[in-house]
């Protein structure tokens, strides 16, 4: 009887992590940056219909990097989770922290039990109301969760983009225009080419909006900001 191959748990986890990281690094980056009215999400995305950034609930947005089919599945699960919580309890009871925990649990379990890990990295962001701080959670393929301050970058060469943004950070949160310019500069520097404004997917969580805070910026809105 042939014995099954033995692979040490360390080796298996390492292989899986390497596999997932490779998949995520292949894509392009997505930035979440605090600006004066809330949180700005900017992605280098040539498709205008396959979104990387999405609304989840009143104050919460989602961004996913890596394999589209996988983070799209996570996005939908998050919206279902949020809508169910809001329907069952109250709209104010839906929070980014609870949602991030659910993501972290699910990704962690999938990483340790499934043969193929998910090649995704996601952001769950929540704009703070009434003087409360914004919340930016970055969740990795293995379920590890990081509470980021003021900015976060996922996908592609995320560390290089993050470094550029940290170097150019200002003590006060920038205006929407300045914030978006900074994001574009960071993405362009890493891509080492011009990114036309129609290849930029931009959305904001603007705390001054009534009701749902999420707003997607059209390419006309973006060109107007750059004008």
């Amino acid at each position: 009887m042939p014995l099954p191959y033995y692979v040490s748990p360390e080796q298996m986890m390492q292989d899986k992590a390497e596999y997932a990281k490779k998949g995520i690094a292949k894509g392009r980056s997505i930035i979440a940056l605090e600006y004066v009215d809330g949180i700005l999400l900017a992605a280098d995305n040539p498709s205008s219909s396959l979104h990387k950034v999405s609304e989840v609930y009143d104050r919460i947005a989602f961004a996913g990097a890596g394999k589209y089919s996988e983070f799209e599945h996570l996005r939908k699960a998050g919206i279902r989770h949020a809508d169910l919580t809001g329907y069952m309890y109250s709209r104010e009871d839906v929070s980014a922290r609870t949602l991030s925990n659910a993501y972290s649990q699910s990704l962690g379990t999938a990483f340790s039990t499934d043969v193929k890990p998910l090649e995704v990295e996601i952001l769950v962001v929540q704009v703070g109301m009434n003087g409360q701080a914004n919340e930016i959670f970055r969740i990795s393929f293995d379920g590890s969760i990081v509470d980021e301050k003021s900015l976060a970058v996922i996908g592609g060469r995320s560390e290089a983009v993050q470094q550029y943004l940290r170097e150019h950070a200002t003590p006060q949160p920038p205006s929407l225009k300045d914030g978006l310019r900074r994001c574009l500069a960071a993405l362009e520097q890493v891509a080492t080419q011009k990114i036309p404004s129609e290849n930029l997917e931009v959305a904001v969580l603007d705390r001054n909006r009534l009701g749902r805070k999420f707003r997607r910026l059209s390419s006309a809105d973006i060109s107007q900001l750059f004008a």
């Binding site: 219909s49 979104h51 999405s54 609304e55 989840v56 599945h73 939908k76 699960a77 919206i79 279902r80 989770h81 809508d83 169910l84 809001g86 329907y87 069952m88 659910a102 993501y103 649990q105 699910s106 379990t109 999938a110 039990t113 499934d114």
Partner: protein
């Protein structure tokens, strides 16, 4: 991914279907067993035999730039007033609203579920449903409520939406089986619905201005309250007035209470004179 309920495997963009399949305990109405066990008297011919609060006159009419939807504030329980300030007109999304008549609890639950349903679809799909699509979805929800109707718990919505493609306001009425019928000018439902319809028939013209249409709507509610015990008129002592919403290309707006009050005061002054 079968690890947790968070990833409950579900296809489709309907929140209503999601609840039905994965969280049937949260679905509106009683489940099959509860219905069988409930020994409620089934007597559709005599309303008021089951003590549930009933919402009453709501109406909708079109005007030049869209549609107006309005409703009175009274809920009754048999011959008692259950609530003087109940809200029967609900904002559903940026371009639509619904008003309800029937058993208050299930009505409010349906409005809330319908709001979640449309928002859920919009977020999952990235686009809003069409005006007609929304109206059809509401019809399916009314149909799903049919078992409750046999327990005397009727939910009857009146739906208005601004159709962004056709650039006009639209009014939809329903029957208990979920049948959906579009009205061309105006409609009213509830126990005072007939009285309100009579008033609107006399005063309605096509292409009304917003102010005039609002006046016609409130006048119809006033007359309905005059004739029907289940419909509350303007309560000058407590300062309670019917509520109205306007749906147009600019989205949905609440008519401020001051404006409603001013219109009623003019109407009352006119009645005193004559």
């Amino acid at each position: 991914m079968k690890h947790s309920s968070f990833f409950s495997h579900h296809e489709g963009s309907s929140f209503f279907d999601f609840l039905t399949q994965h969280h049937p305990e949260l679905k509106p109405g009683l489940n099959e067993i509860a219905i069988q066990r409930a020994a409620l008297p089934v007597d559709l011919g005599r309303p008021g035999t089951i003590p549930v609060p009933h919402g009453t006159t709501v109406l909708a009419l079109k005007y030049r730039d869209g549609a107006i939807i309005a409703g009175d504030r009274r809920a009754t329980e048999g011959f008692q007033i259950a609530d003087r300030r109940i809200e029967k007109v609900f904002r559903i999304d940026d371009y639509s609203a619904m008003a309800i008549a029937g058993a208050a609890g299930p009505c409010i639950e349906m409005a809330k579920l319908f709001q979640t349903e449309l928002e859920h679809y919009e977020k999952l799909e990235g686009v809003q449903l069409s005006c007609e699509g929304k109206a059809n979805k509401l019809g399916q929800m009314v149909k799903a409520n049919l078992p409750m109707v046999f327990q005397g718990l009727v939910v009857m919505p009146l739906y208005v939406g601004y159709d962004l493609k056709r650039k006009e306001g639209r009014i939809f009425k329903y029957d208990i089986t979920g049948g959906r019928y579009e009205e061309s000018d105006h409609h009213s439902i509830g126990s005072g619905g007939k009285d309100a319809r009579n008033t609107m028939r006399e005063h309605y013209r096509s292409g009304l201005q917003e102010e005039e249409a609002l006046r016609v709507g409130l006048l119809a509610l006033y007359n309905a309250a005059d004739e029907d015990v289940g419909t509350g008129g303007p309560d000058l002592v407590r300062g309670i007035y019917p509520t109205a919403k306007i749906v147009s290309s600019a989205g949905i707006t609440d008519v401020p209470e001051d404006r409603v009050r001013a219109l009623f005061e003019t109407m009352i002054a006119e009645r005193r004179r004559s």
